[in-house]
Amino acid sequence: MHDISHYLSTDHAHCDTLFAAAENAVARDDWRTATTQFQAFDIATRLHFTREESILFPAFEARTGMSHGPTVVMRGEHAEIREILQGMAEALLGKDADSYLGLAETLLMLLRQHNLKEEQILYPLADQALADSSGELVRDMKSLAG
């Protein structure tokens, strides 16, 4: 019943772990680890957004008819978060710890509130609306990792 919630919330937690590892490395001036960890975080976060935008949201919109609803808000926030990811990548390239940490703080606040809204409201709605096809949707989202 909670396949979608479970799968995507676990994915959030995975991204959080990578985020923290990169930030910790920047804070101790370990730029090599920071770069590896940030790249992993960047890829995982963008992949998560793609899973939602190309699989979950279209299915949700088609089933509920809510094409101007919460998915639009979530897409807008994804765009904001992608912009900050870009800024963090640039700070990393320039080894600018202050800029990286300042953006990381900003990103974390945006990302965690965004995740909270998805986990509390959107995913449960999706679990409900897409109960009959959730197994298939999760399989499709997983296959994107490919």
Partner: protein, 437 residues
């Protein structure tokens, strides 16, 4: 979809919570000045000046910040907007801003007119606020998140009702027996019901969020606030039972246990955080949790203390809970909320490139926040040490503690204004709601 509740657009303009946040530090400043001029606040919690200082801190400071934070946070964590948030924010600002000093003046002068006027103004601020957030709390699609905040709001209304009865009694409007018992209930519902249950409900969301810690265990989120409600109800039960010598005990025990459980679980979660970078906000939270544990332990042994220590211990309990626990947590939250909102509103209002506007840490630089933490910690140590130290030293310690309380309040005010100035300088508008460009 207008009522999806997922968008920040439904939060109030930055100016609404900021007005409350910027006014709040004036009240600890005022309380500190009062305490410096009238040192008999140290004799018992019942002097006019003690009661005035207490209400300046609870209503003026904590009340204003909590109200502002709730107006801002509820749409995000509950996915349901607070109706008329701007208007409710204004009412709350005026009601608390005039009511708290009015009430304080009533206590200081022993003047019925001011007590009644202060209480009426407070009700004028808090009732519309409670109704508005009740709507949001009822309509939410995230009931798990909403329950602790629902309980806290109920406790706020009970506190206000008990406070009104007490103010009426002190003003001679109606007779009340057992004034002291009723005061204990008023304090319990206000501090443990409203302040602590609200902090717990908020902590369930923000502690894992800010530090990337594991979630609170399910047994805590499921039972703790209900245990507290049961404790409060037992504590409020008529006090004429024969079967227990100290009949506060059945209620006091679950309440003390809840405080300790919450604080210990929070500290343990924070110790397991994935984010290991230095963070003053985290330090404020940890100081708050340690103070809460100490407050609960002191509360538990209060009745066993020698009579000569009782008055001083009660004042230390108030300092531990209000300044050590509640103010620390509130400050830890403010230092996340304000720079985030300044950045977020600026970004969405101006549509500026990322590099063209200050990031969160530039909005409120860490060294400024760290200064406030140091002032706050030193203030606590001095105020708590004062009653233990021998006479002249104790007096010096208390006065120095109050000076630091004033200094901390001013540092907080300047820190928040730093973010406001940067926000305005980069073209932000306080009255405009965030709108994605």
């Amino acid at each position: 979809m207008a009522d999806s509740g997922l968008s920040y657009d439904q939060g109030p303009p930055f100016g609404a919570p900021l007005r409350l946040f910027l006014t709040a530090p004036l009240f600890p400043l005022l309380a500190a000045c009062l305490g410096l001029v009238m040192p008999d606040w140290q004799t018992t919690r019942w002097t006019g000046v003690s009661l005035a200082m207490t209400h300046l801190i609870t209503l003026g400071y904590l009340g204003m910040v909590m109200l502002g934070a709730l107006l801002q946070m509820l749409p995000v964590v509950l996915g349901s907007p607070v109706p008329a948030a701007r208007l409710v924010g204004w009412c709350g600002w005026l009601g608390l801003g005039l009511g708290a000093p009015g009430l304080a003046l009533g206590f200081l002068l022993g003047e019925p007119l001011w007590l009644v006027a202060g209480t009426l103004l407070l009700a004028l601020g808090l009732v519309p606020f409670s109704i508005a957030i009740a709507v949001s709390l009822i309509k939410t699609r995230a009931p798990r998140v909403a329950w602790p905040i629902r309980l806290a709001t109920l406790a706020l209304l009970i506190t206000l009702a008990l406070g009104s009865v007490l103010a009426g009694a002190l003003s001679g409007l109606w007779p009340v027996q057992a004034l002291a018992d009723l005061t204990a209930l008023h304090a319990a519902w206000g501090l443990l019901g409203w302040v602590l249950i609200l902090v717990i409900g908020v902590a369930y969301q923000v502690v894992p969020m800010l530090q990337i810690t594991p979630d609170y265990p399910a047994w805590v989120t499921r039972w703790l606030t209900w245990l507290m409600l049961a404790g409060l109800l037992l504590y409020s039960a008529p006090s004429s039972t024969d079967w227990l010598p100290n009949n506060d005990l059945p209620g006091a025990l679950p309440l003390c246990a809840s405080c300790v459980v919450f604080a210990v679980v929070t500290l343990r979660l924070q110790a397991r955080r994935r984010r290991r970078i230095a963070d003053v906000s985290l330090d404020f939270w940890r100081l708050g949790m340690v103070s809460l544990i100490l407050a609960a332990l002191l509360f538990a042994v209060l009745h066993g203390l020698p009579a000569a220590w009782m008055a001083a211990a009660e004042i230390s309990l108030g300092i531990l809970f209000l300044l050590g626990f509640a103010a620390s947590v509130v400050q830890g939250m403010l230092y996340k909320i304000v720079p985030f909102l300044a950045w977020f509103h600026l970004k969405t209002q101006t549509g500026a490139r990322l590099g063209a506007i200050p990031n969160m840490k530039q909005m409120l630089p860490e060294p400024l926040v760290r200064q406030h933490f140091r002032l706050h910690l030193a203030m606590l140590i001095l105020l708590l040490a004062a009653p233990i130290l021998p006479a002249p030293l104790g007096q010096v310690s208390a006065s120095a503690g109050l000076l630091l309380l004033a200094g901390g309040a001013m540092r907080l005010e300047l820190n928040l204004r730093h973010a406001k100035t940067l926000f305005l300088r980069h073209g932000g508008r306080l009255g405009q709601a965030a709108e994605n460009k």
